[in-house]
């Protein structure tokens, strides 16, 4: 299966993708084989069902959101390989010598930001934050307390006083955290 799939990937495609994302050809082939193994319908694109079939995503509280993030750019609710790789490129470790926009700190943060911002208005509202918090903490915290936590969180980050967290405020609030390291994955070689 792996062999066949890598054959389907054209040389030119690999080059384009490499240029765009900075992945090495070997990594791209690996990703492609993963892509095809996820693609149960063999139609060259992944649907939401394909993603959600991954068993481990079921226990991930943010699983749905992560899957959703892959579909940000697609119109027909299908992700092709290019889009798939482009999303994953956000999680490449940052190296000093190579300049690539996709895995910059800001892009990583934007991915995290999109986890909250469901309605794409570039702002995290209290409700959006609450929804994510609910997913992450489960039953452990009472609604009342979660409410106040959300409120406080927004207040903490909110500099312009609109009761929302814009992307700039989001970045500013996370200024001290080590996003570059945390949101990087050692990709298969």
């Amino acid at each position: 299966m792996g062999n066949k799939s890598s054959l389907m990937l054209q040389e030119q495609d690999i080059k384009d993708i490499q240029e765009e994302t900075g992945f090495l050809p070997g990594q791209i082939e690996r990703l492609y084989s993963r892509f095809t193994s996820l693609d149960k319908g063999d139609n060259g694109s992944l649907s939401r069902e394909d993603f959600l079939r991954i068993p481990e995503l079921a226990i991930n509280p943010l699983g749905d959101r992560i899957v959703h993030a892959f579909f940000k750019e697609s119109e027909d609710d299908h992700v092709n390989f290019r889009q798939f790789v482009r999303v994953l490129a956000h999680f490449r470790p940052i190296k000093h010598n190579q300049e690539n926009n996709l895995n910059a700190r800001e892009e990583k943060l934007r991915f995290a930001f999109k986890m909250y911002d469901l309605d794409d208005d570039e702002r995290i509202s209290r409700e959006e934050l609450l929804a994510v918090l609910h997913m992450m903490v489960g039953e452990n915290i009472s609604d009342e307390q979660l409410n106040s936590i959300a409120e406080r969180t927004i207040l903490e980050a909110d500099t312009d006083g609109d009761q929302m967290i814009s992307f700039e405020e989001f970045c500013a609030a996370l200024e001290r955290s080590d996003v570059e390291q945390k949101m990087s994955i050692k990709f298969l070689k």
Partner: protein
């Protein structure tokens, strides 16, 4: 000043010396009619204590041998000494206390502590003590030794492993419960196991080869002996590393890399040492023996882990049901941890590994089960015990240096030091090179250097070498060499590592706690990364972590945690909320009290002293968010105040559905009302009533048998927080409202008799504060000032009532004429946080409003930046306070706070 401190240290040393002389030169004891007590054992004092307990006061065997002449007096004696019974404990206690106090002396000697690590100073002190003991006891006839001497405690391997080491390990195990440690666990394990084994395997034969080649000169030892020596000298020592690196404050990754390595390589050391010793006694070593040695290693490590898990879980289960008997909580924690160490040692497993695992589990589960007080108790006890043991270990190391028994061999010593140093560097660099391929965060060259350079040797090595068979020929050389290597690493590397860390610009450790955003997003990021790994089909660190958290949440938590346990996020939130709550609660009151103080000195004095005694401990607890100071304050007070207008808030609630807005507007309207009705005496009265019924008093007398959140009932805690808040409040209030001279003119001439003036002043102060607060909250809601002014009445999105507008203009006036204070505050804050001025750039605006806006801009600084600048703001605050009150008593207090 410093002379005084030095002299205090000298005093301590003198006391040390006197005690040593007194205890060791026992002849005076006879004159004091002290019954004799045999001190001739080599086992150390602990055994003697046991003996003592089992035999009664003293064993009949020696009382007959030496003490015929000291027949007990008949009859009743009025004054007598019970040295025979008390002596042992007395000596031990005194020694421990003195050792502990040297820490104090060290920290007061600034110029020493900034240059030399504490461990070095302690070793030097130990040497001095050793010298004193040595010279005072040298002349004593050995025959007279059966007499009345109580020896100073000295180093024995048993004492080290069973008394001194466990507290240090436990304390570090608690500190290992950190994300950074688990993130680096793989690398740490590789370091701890592979680095150590490699170094042992290389350096042992190298030493042997050098000996055979004749590079060392006149010395002879076998191959097996060289391996034993290398196995005990190669291990990095946790105590030495901890002592040095805690002072350094390097970033967490590097810290846990070195410290984790030093802790975890104990298992390897013990196994290697035992194996090599076994090899030494065998004539032929077969392949089967090697296999057994490897199996032994796994048994020692796994046995340790298993026992640690067992006791860790046991602690969790026990603490789950201690709700009614809080007293036993610290006992359960500490006792079971020590028991896990002892149990592991009983079965020849690694006690250190067992204790670490137990400590980690305790930190994970039991800490959440026990009450805050018990946690504090455990924390303080382990810290105190580990600090004391640490001190004693280093002093012991210094003391054993002074002895007749040393055999110096220059060649061997030098080669050992050089080989230890070089091999560690080579192995560390090679291994990190390999490990970096598997790490997302690479270990830089500088950090590799520090990792290798931080490989300090310490008391573990010395204990092991002490345990060597007495009949071994090169034993004395080994002992001396080990000691020299230890001292060389502690002194040379320990003293130079600080400048090197600065020179190589190693990233330092981040201080301060996470804010809520970081906490939430940290968790979110973990989930995201786990999800992405799942999509990739690549089961990496994040995936494993996620899986572990999942099972932890699903099964383990149910068994080991109380149902009421809070999550980390909750705790952080509570911490922030509580500290702010106090700020809201007492801010205004305390602000006024601060001003009143100079007027009633008798009250002030009492309060001052009480507050200052607690001011050291909690300085970092309080985060003040200028935006929130009043908004979410207590509603009880707000209701008591007259003229509380609620219509605006109702409207708001409908429109925005946000509780916060309701609060803001309530305070806002209340403030405006206050400032509008300018009847100061009436206001002052109401205020006083409000102050009297404030929740502080209620909280204080609450009956609370279960001690739930009972720190809220402690006067000290309240006073302390209140005081801190007061200072910040007053700083904020004065910095933007009035310059110091204005304030003085208003208050200093007032003597206690003119009560009315005082009340007026207080009222005015408070009401100005409210006015300012209100204007701020108006602006915060996002409405530009322009719209507030141009369109009175409810705006499109943010309704602003007329009263607020009026008050806004009014409030603008007092600050317009006094800009100099503001600019001073301006300079200290970071300009990047300012609001862009373009929003307000309107030429038709009055000067007064401009001033107001500037002031507001100043206020809208991020809370994070405020906490970051605590140092700054505090000193600024002190300066302000000093200039405001011009009272002598505030100065010493200010000094103590400034130091923090």
């Amino acid at each position: 000043m410093s002379l005084l401190k030095i002299s205090s240290l000298v005093c301590e040393i003198c006391v040390c010396a006197v005690l040593a002389v007194w205890m060791t030169a026992g002849s005076s004891a006879a004159a004091l009619d002290i019954t004799s007590f045999d001190r001739n054992r080599t086992e150390g004092l602990d055994d003697e204590m046991l003996q003592e307990l089992s035999n009664g006061s003293h064993s009949p065997a020696h009382s007959s041998a030496c003490h015929e002449e000291h027949k007990p007096h008949d009859g009743i004696r009025l004054v007598s000494l019970r040295w025979s019974e008390v002596g042992v404990y007395y000596t031990i206690t005194t020694f421990v206390i003195i050792a502990g106090f040297t820490k104090l002396g060290f920290h007061h000697l600034r110029w020493v502590s900034s240059r030399v690590p504490e461990s070095c100073v302690l070793v030097v002190l130990g040497v001095i003590l050793g010298l004193i003991v040595f010279f005072t006891t040298r002349g004593v006839d050995p025959a007279a030794k059966c007499n009345n001497r109580v020896e100073l405690p000295h180093f024995t391997s048993d004492k080290f492993f069973f008394v001194l080491l466990p507290p240090i390990i436990l304390d570090s195990a608690y500190s290992l419960h950190d994300r950074a440690f688990f993130d680096n666990l793989g690398t740490v394990l590789v370091f701890a196991v592979i680095t150590l084994i490699t170094v042992i395997i290389i350096s042992g034969p190298s030493l042997y080869g050098l000996e055979v080649a004749g590079a060392m000169g006149n010395i002879s030892f076998t191959f097996a002996e060289s391996l034993v020596f290398s196995s005990l000298i190669s291990a990095v020592d946790p105590v030495a590393v901890l002592a040095i690196f805690q002072e350094l404050g390097v970033n967490k990754d590097l810290y846990f890399l070195i410290f984790g390595e030093s802790l975890l390589n104990d298992g390897v050391t013990v196994v290697m040492y035992n194996t090599m010793q076994a090899f030494m006694s065998m004539s032929m070593v077969t392949a089967g023996q090697y296999a057994l040695a490897i199996i032994a290693f796994f048994i020692v490590v796994c046995g340790g882990i298993f026992i640690g898990i067992f006791f860790g879980c046991l602690t969790a289960l026990i603490t789950k049901s201690t709700t009614d008997v809080r007293v036993v909580e610290p006992l359960a924690m500490l006792g079971l941890a020590y028991l896990s160490y002892l149990t592991a040692e009983l079965f020849h497993f690694s006690g250190i590994i067992s204790l670490i695992v137990c400590g980690l589990l305790q930190a994970h589960y039991a800490f959440n089960n026990i009450s805050q007080k018990s946690y504090t108790c455990v924390k303080y006890f382990t810290k105190m015990a580990s600090a004391t043991c640490d001190t004693i270990i280093f002093m012991f190391l210094g003391m054993v240096l002074v002895s007749d028994d040393h055999v110096w061999h220059t060649g061997f010593v030098l080669w050992s030091i050089v080989l230890c140093f070089i091999y560690r560097f080579i192995v560390v660099f090679v291994l990190t090179g390999i490990m970096n391929n598997y790490r997302v965060k690479k270990i830089g060259k500088e950090e590799q250097f520090i990792t290798a350079y931080g490989g300090l040797r310490g008391a573990v090595a010395f204990s092991l070498v002490n345990m060597l068979d007495k009949k071994l020929k090169p034993r004395k050389i080994f002992v001396t060499t080990t000691l020299v290597v230890i001292l060389a690493t502690i002194f040379l590397q320990g003293m130079t590592i600080k400048p090197l860390v600065n020179l190589l610009q190693i990233q330092k450790r981040r201080v301060g706690r996470n804010n809520l955003n970081e906490e939430i997003n940290g968790t979110a990021m973990d989930h995201i990364m786990a999800g992405v790994e799942e999509i990739l089909g690549q089961h990496g660190d994040f995936y494993l972590r996620e899986l572990m958290i999942h099972y932890n949440d699903k099964y383990l938590k149910k068994w080991f945690l109380r149902p009421s346990c809070e999550t980390k996020l909750q705790r952080l939130f509570e911490k922030i909320a509580i500290s702010e709550h106090y700020a809201h609660l007492y801010g205004p009151v305390a602000m006024i009290e601060d001003k009143v103080k100079p007027l009633c000195p008798s009250i002030k004095k009492g309060q001052r002293t009480r507050v200052s005694s607690f001011s050291e401990s909690h300085s970092d607890e309080i985060l003040i968010n200028p935006r929130l100071r009043l908004e979410s304050g207590d509603h009880g007070d707000a209701h008591n105040l007259p003229g509380l207008i609620n219509d605006g808030s109702v409207q708001l609630r409908k429109k925005r559905g946000s509780v916060l807005h309701v609060r803001q507007s309530r305070v806002a309207s209340e403030g405006s009302q206050l400032s509008l009705s300018h009847q100061s005496s009436h206001d002052a009265q109401t205020l006083r009533k409000a102050f009297r019924s404030n929740p502080y008093n209620k909280l204080h007398y609450k009956y609370n048998p279960n001690l739930v959140e009972e720190e809220d009932q402690e006067l000290a805690e309240h006073l302390h927080r209140r005081h801190l808040n007061a200072r910040r409040m007053s700083r904020l209030a004065t910095s933007s409202r009035a310059p110091p001279y204005d304030y003085q003119r208003q208050f200093t001439p007032v003597d206690p008799t003119t009560d009315l003036d005082l009340q007026d002043g207080v009222a005015e102060l408070v009401e100005r504060h409210f006015a300012r607060r209100r204007t701020m909250s108006t602006l915060r809601r996002g409405a530009p000032l322009q719209t507030c002014y141009s369109s009175p009445g409810p705006g499109a999105d943010y309704p602003v009532s007329m009263q607020i507008l009026q008050a806004l203009q009014e409030a603008a006036e007092p600050c317009s004429s006094l800009p100099d204070m503001r600019t001073q505050a301006d300079a200290t804050e970071e300009p990047s946080h300012m609001r862009p001025p373009s929003v307000f750039s309107d030429p038709g605006r009055s000067v007064a409003t401009e001033e107001l806006i500037k002031e507001i801009e100043l206020e809208s600084i991020e809370p994070a930046s405020l906490t970051d600048n605590t140092e700054n703001s505090r000193s600024e605050e002190e300066a302000l306070l000093a200039s405001i009150t011009e009272v002598d008593s505030s100065a010493p207090n200010a000094e103590t706070e400034g130091k923090e």
